[in-house]
């Protein structure tokens, strides 16, 4: 059982950084330049881990990133990787979709305590922006997930994947997929909604005091977290993955779509992004809910 968990974790870490490296390369090619090597974000995290010193504002600041990382790792472990359910199922039999959705919020809230404790007003502003944006992001995503749960008569991800054997949910519930994809963009922090750590506006928000090892942990947890969200979207709407290659293909397709949207559009302000999220995708999700 523990070997399964370990493999899942290592795969999430590896794929997360690979995709982040790919993101930097693809957006570099869109900009018209050769981006860094694929493993660049891996080098960044190793360098940050092995720095000599990093400023520490007290035990709560020390615990903040750790809670954030454990939140991200828990999210990954509770999502089954494959839909045939024998290997790499992780802890999903003990939890269900609602538990996973709440784990996605546990990490940022834990980090909020750490960021609040060092007293930098930019950190507090970044956290408030994160929580306000979360308000807008959660509505469409949760309504879409509620629709799926009601349609499949169960909240267990395994059964939802099993029910998609012949038609994927993306075809069965297209409206729910659209709403979920828009807020999925926000969860990944892509451009229209990346208001949380906007360097030009809030001096890089929550990560303002993260030095050396804290920044390293923040980067690696965000890699794991983004892979977990990709995986969740694949499991819910693209019928889960049959084999490792199928997993890579599906997550990559979703990932590339979010990258291109991120590269073209600028950034909304917090109020505009939540306003948009509460209007367009939420209405689509509610209409989709009625058709379930």
């Amino acid at each position: 059982m523990f070997i399964d968990l370990l493999i899942m974790l290592v795969m999430a870490y590896g794929f997360g950084f690979l995709y982040y490296g790919l993101y930097r390369n693809i957006s570099a090619r869109v900009h018209g330049r050769f981006g860094p090597s694929l493993a660049q974000s891996f080098y960044d995290s190793i360098k940050l881990f092995t720095k000599d010193t990093s400023t520490d504002f007290g035990w709560m600041f020390f615990a903040g990133p750790i809670i954030m990382a454990s939140g991200a790792i828990l999210t990954v472990l509770f999502i089954p990787y494959f839909n045939h359910g024998e290997r790499l199922v992780g802890l999903s039999p003990y939890g269900n979709l609602i538990v996973v959705l709440y784990f996605m919020v546990l990490g940022p809230l834990g980090n909020a305590l750490g960021v609040g404790s060092h007293g930098n007003p930019f950190g507090a502003m970044g956290i408030t922006r994160g929580l306000t944006r979360l308000l807008g992001l959660e509505m469409p995503f949760y309504i879409a997930v509620v629709g799926l749960m009601i349609a499949n008569e169960s909240a267990d991800i395994g059964t939802i994947m099993a029910n998609q054997a012949e038609t994927y949910n993306i075809i069965a519930h297209p409206l729910l997929f659209i709403a979920a994809f828009i807020s999925f963009l926000g969860f990944l922090g892509k451009s229209p909604f990346d208001v949380v750590g906007a360097p030009q506006e809030v001096y890089s928000g929550p990560a303002v005091e993260f030095g050396g090892k804290f920044l390293a942990l923040a980067l690696s947890q965000s890699a794991i977290f983004s892979f977990a969200k990709l995986l969740l979207m694949v499991d819910l709407f693209l019928g889960g993955a049959d084999s490792l290659w199928d997993l890579i293909l599906k997550t990559f397709v979703l990932f590339v779509a979010s990258v291109f949207v991120g590269n073209v559009y600028g950034r909304f302000t917090t109020a505009q992004s939540v306003d948009f999220l509460l209007k367009v995708p939420t209405v689509i999700a509610i209409v989709g809910l009625l058709f379930v």
Binding site: H31, P121, Q200, E201, S204, Y265, G266, R267, A271
Partner: protein, 368 residues
């Protein structure tokens, strides 16, 4: 103390600031209740240094006043010295000077586009526009020997003649830019997020715009047709026909459209300059004893239209070879203080970087 406002700095070390200056903000939540601009981080005491230098020594230092766009400084300095000493420069030198001015305006607009789109998180536009600006800087390097600081416009004409086939390469670059500008429209000017963010933010009230002495895009952005090249023409601008793009709306979006129009106008002017440039004519009017060139005991005020507005020079000579006084007034002095501190009240914190970019505030002009 039970103050509900928190004080933050949009400070010198900040990715969202245009140059090395800082704006001190009092915030209620993320709404700005009080703003105060701090400058002085780039003060080198130009005017003190110029008083110790002769004309040719001051010439090398003058172009280093404003970094994104050095050419209006050189043009002002040259015309001020020529005005004081009563030197008349040849027709060909005037055309070359107009060409240099318009090329530097194009480069400055493209740099602005990078800054403006960067302030709202659009990475791609900044990369493309700075690439095109670099092509223009290559032409400058070929003409003057320096990428950004050209030290080319010298009192009495220009320092060197055009290299072989320079005008041909310039027109090729203009064709390339003409093909590229529609691409910028689709990714930046008509971009949905830019429109949603830019329309209605940072509005300049039209009635007090002229009275408070605003210049450049700020005026043309709120529907007042003012351009020094047309109103107070210098060099050969009266012989060239170009129009001035004006949009009323007074907000960040109309100022962006004004700049978009100006890029097309600059290309049109450069085309006419290439066509009408006289083939021969002395490009350099030799100054008498130029190393010890003495200025008469007089003062003069000259101004040119830079990419951000009217750039004014007051210069006074005192009969010796040293310049008695040279005072620089850039457009950002008024935009950065009276306009910015009033406009940021009740504005959102996330729009500060965008507004400062759209006003084109460049701190070295303010504190020299």
């Amino acid at each position: 103390m039970d103050s509900k406002l928190i004080k933050i700095f949009h400070g010198p070390q900040h990715p969202g600031i245009t140059g090395n200056m800082s704006v001190e903000l009092d915030l209620l939540g993320e709404t700005i209740k009080y703003a105060r601009t701090h400058v002085g981080y780039l003060h080198r005491g130009f005017e003190k240094l110029v008083e110790r230098r002769t004309v040719i020594q001051a010439f090398t230092i003058v172009c280093r006043i404003c970094v994104p766009e050095p050419d209006p400084n050189e043009e002002n300095f040259a015309r001020a010295v020529e005005g004081l000493a009563g030197i008349e420069i040849s027709e060909r030198a005037k055309y070359i000077r107009v060409m240099v001015q318009e090329m530097s305006r194009l480069a400055a607009q493209m740099l602005w586009m990078g800054g403006q789109s960067g302030s709202i998180g659009m990475g791609t536009v900044g990369q493309w526009s700075l690439f095109d600006r670099d092509l223009m800087l290559d032409l400058f390097e070929e003409l003057t020997g320096g990428r950004v600081y050209h030290m080319y416009t010298y009192p009495g004409g220009v320092r060197r003649d055009l290299p072989e086939g320079f005008l041909l390469r310039l027109s090729e670059l203009l064709d390339y830019l003409e093909k590229k500008l529609p691409k910028y429209d689709s990714i930046f000017f008509d971009n949905a997020t830019f429109k949603k963010r830019a329309i209605g933010t940072g509005v300049v009230p039209k009635e007090e715009a002229l009275k408070n002495g605003y210049v450049g895009q700020t005026l043309r952005g709120c529907g007042i047709r003012r351009d020094l090249r047309k109103d107070n023409p210098y060099l050969v601008y009266d012989k060239l026909d170009f129009d001035i793009p004006v949009f009323d709306g007074g907000d960040v979006y109309s100022r962006a459209l004004v700049r978009r129009g100006e890029m097309r106008e600059s290309i049109k002017i450069l085309r006419q300059v290439i066509a009408q440039m006289p083939a021969e004519g002395a490009i350099m009017q030799k100054l008498p004893k130029h190393r010890k060139f003495t200025l008469p005991k007089e003062d003069i005020y000259v101004a040119t239209e830079s990419a951000r507005g009217e750039f004014g020079y007051y210069m006074a000579g005192d009969g010796t070879e040293h310049i008695r006084r040279m005072q620089v007034k850039g457009p950002s002095l008024i935009h950065g203080f009276t306009l910015l501190e009033k406009m940021l009240i009740d504005e959102e914190l996330s729009n500060v970087a965008m507004i400062m970019n759209s006003l084109g505030i460049c701190p070295p002009e303010i504190e020299r």
